[in-house]
């Protein structure tokens, strides 16, 4: 086009002058008709609902996995033993209390046993005489009577032990053949018996102490409870529980601070009211669950060659101009896909697999455009030339994606050698080069695993990956869904 060549005729000049820059105001509603037909920014074509769905799934999975890690169920055996222990302590205490009360009644009528008492017992008897007049609700007195009764019972049993010991001595002496040695033997037997006695007595005394402590603990518990639940004396009593502990126990008993004999093993009754804090004494290793035989955690990695299968749509209003679309059937369609991640075993039938993916795909699509106003060349910047021939175009690119995926695995068959499963999941992939597009994929796969070692499984997994959104070439003439199909091969490792 060269307008200068056409400026010979004055008649033409007149029209050229008039109309070269002629403008006419279009009707205002025309823009409203044009606007809906305009292309929108490809970056806004993201399928927000799909992204939201993927995010939601990831979030829920993360939450579920996190919860599973945190709330470890207590081992039932530990729980049972803990409860039994607690129950037995309670039972024992209750029993001994009953027994003591019962014995107290019997005590009043029993006079024979009193004669067997030693000096210590006499003192108690004195107390008992006082008690007889006011054997009543006085707690301190009751406590003394109970103490005395306990000691008496133990002494009674000691007497019988003594008889047994003497019987043993007699038996021993009869075994000895020489009559000369009889006396000596008797002596030694007596010594043995007396050792035996002192040992047993000591043991019984210990038992006595322990019963004392049981009794006092009962009181202690009562006191603690009353202290804890009655705000009045709260401060003093509670502080005394913890402060006077290291002081003289006798003094503490005299001052009714019988709580001082509490030690770390005697928390049973207290724990009745504080069951939750007690749980912290139960140690269950946090990670144990995942490493049990039934719920292993696997790591996996895999690689797969893939072939792209495109769904191609000519873009919008240009449908009339874009035609002759063909996909190059050579190696350009080949790509590569690799992934690594972890597999959570949810149940016998279900596993959850999540990880990172890297994809390299290649596109090469030929198409033709009718050149109506589409190809413009400006050779010298003075004019613009238009080419009217059909133009062959190629949409060719190599894209790298980094993505994350989550898949649910359903195990169809679980054999000795092979297991079969179906994988369904979603994947979000961000394009690292070019226009940094986000692509969503729905993945479906059928897989077969085979154990190849103690803790390793090989899997092969034909996979189809359906693109949830479209890509657009630079000219926006094509809308392409880069679906892919591949043969995934990988290894699972069980973590121990």
């Amino acid at each position: 086009m060269n307008a200068l060549d056409n400026e010979n005729d004055p008649f033409e000049d007149l029209f050229r002058d008039r109309f070269a820059d002629f403008e006419s105001e279009p009707a205002s509603q025309l823009w409203n008709k044009i606007e809906p037909q305009l292309p929108v920014n490809p970056t806004r074509k993201y399928p927000y609902w799909q992204i939201s769905a993927v995010a939601l799934i990831l979030l829920l999975t993360g939450w579920a996995v996190f919860n599973k890690t945190q709330i470890l169920p207590l081992s039932s055996s530990i729980m049972v033993s803990a409860l039994n222990e607690e129950a037995s302590i309670e039972k024992k205490t209750g029993k001994s209390v009953n027994h003591i009360e019962k014995s107290t009644n019997i005590e009043n009528k029993n006079t024979d046993s009193k004669t067997l008492m030693n000096t210590e017992n006499k003192a108690i008897t004195t107390t008992k005489n006082d008690d007889e007049s006011k054997l009543s609700l006085n707690q301190l007195v009751t406590s003394n009577v109970q103490k005395k009764d306990s000691e008496k019972r133990i002494l009674g049993s000691l007497n019988s032990e003594d008889v047994i010991a003497q019987k043993q001595i007699k038996r021993l002496s009869s075994v000895v053949s020489s009559p000369k040695d009889e006396e000596e033997t008797n002596n030694s037997a007596n010594k043995l018996a007396s050792n035996n006695f002192s040992k047993k007595y000591k043991t019984r005394l210990n038992l006595l102490d322990s019963e004392k402590s049981n009794q006092s603990r009962f009181n202690t518990d009562k006191e603690i409870n009353s202290n804890i639940f009655s705000p009045k004396s709260n401060t003093n009593s509670v502080s005394s529980v913890f402060n006077i502990e290291n002081e003289n126990p006798a003094k503490a008993i005299n001052n009714k601070y019988t709580l001082t004999i509490l030690d770390s093993k005697q928390y049973g009754l207290l724990a009745n009211h504080f069951k939750k804090p007690k749980l912290k004494y139960v140690f269950v290793p946090k990670t144990e669950e995942y490493f049990r035989e039934t719920k292993p955690l696997d790591v996996y990695f895999s690689a797969m060659p893939l072939l792209n299968y495109y769904t191609i749509t000519p873009n919008g209003n240009d449908a009339n101009y874009v035609h002759g679309i063909t996909v190059n059937d050579d190696a350009d369609r080949l790509g590569f896909y690799t992934q690594a991640g972890v597999v959570f075993t949810l149940s016998d039938k279900f596993k959850l697999r999540t990880g990172l993916t890297f994809t390299k795909t290649n596109h090469s699509i030929n198409y033709q455009i009718r050149t109506d106003s589409l190809v413009v060349q400006s050779l010298d910047n003075k004019g613009v030339d238009v080419s009217f021939a059909e133009v062959n175009k190629t949409y060719s690119q190599s894209a790298n994606y980094l993505g994350t995926k989550i898949e649910l695995q359903y195990i169809l068959l679980k054999g000795e050698a092979l297991s079969h499963y179906v994988n369904v999941g979603v994947e979000g992939a961000y394009r690292l080069n070019g226009n940094h597009q986000f692509n969503g994929f729905a993945n479906i796969a059928y897989g077969v695993t085979r154990q190849i070692g103690d803790n390793a499984y090989l899997f092969v997994e034909p996979t189809f990956s359906y693109s949830l959104n479209q890509q657009s070439d630079n000219n926006a003439f094509l809308l392409v869904k880069p679906n892919k199909i591949g043969f995934n091969i990988g290894v699972n490792f069980k973590i121990k």
Partner: protein, 183 residues
């Protein structure tokens, strides 16, 4: 005012605000072109809409943003030519004699005619004549280019231009306009 090249770049990114600004920038000029190439305002509007949609859909192909003015004009012209081709078989030869103006009150100088009045003369030219007249006289294409664009030979383009001018003169003559010298 936003730099025209920046506007083009924004349009290439399909920025809706830029598209609106671009439309407002070129709407008058492009409607002017459409009016010249068509017989009626309705046809002009059809071409106008189609052309703008094309422009925004293919603005990515524009390599030199500085040539955008010429490019949009070309796009509209090409759209008009497509329209002409598409409707060629439905067109009938116009009875030229009936289209002659017969208003004796017209002044005797072409310069005194308004653009709209002159536009009516152009609009009333037979489609083929009108296309060649516009392409050659106003838009400056060579006969070779016009022949290629319209799918006719170069000599056909020349003869159609000659007939178009003759027809215009005939239409102007009754109006007393015989002098075409520039004023």
């Amino acid at each position: 005012m936003v730099n025209e090249q920046e506007l083009v770049k924004a349009c290439q990114n399909n920025d809706r605000k830029a598209q609106t600004a671009f439309y407002n920038l070129y709407k008058g000029k492009l409607m002017g072109v459409c009016r010249r190439y068509t017989r009626t305002p309705d046809e002009a509007e059809d071409i106008y809409q189609e052309a703008f949609v094309k422009i925004f859909n293919s603005i990515h192909t524009l390599e030199k943003a500085g040539a955008v003015g010429a490019w949009v004009r070309q796009t509209v012209i090409r759209t008009a030519i497509n329209y002409y081709h598409a409707n060629l078989k439905f067109q009938q030869n116009t009875d030229y004699e009936n289209t002659l103006l017969s208003n004796d009150d017209y002044p005797n100088l072409l310069a005194t005619l308004s653009n709209e009045e002159l536009l009516i003369l152009i609009n009333q030219l037979p489609d083929g004549y009108r296309m060649v007249f516009n392409l050659y006289v106003i838009d400056g294409y060579s006969h070779a280019e016009i022949g290629e664009m319209l799918g006719v030979s170069e000599s056909t383009s020349k003869s159609q231009l000659s007939r178009a001018k003759e027809l215009l003169r005939k239409q102007l003559k009754p109006l007393g306009i015989i002098s075409y010298e520039r004023t």
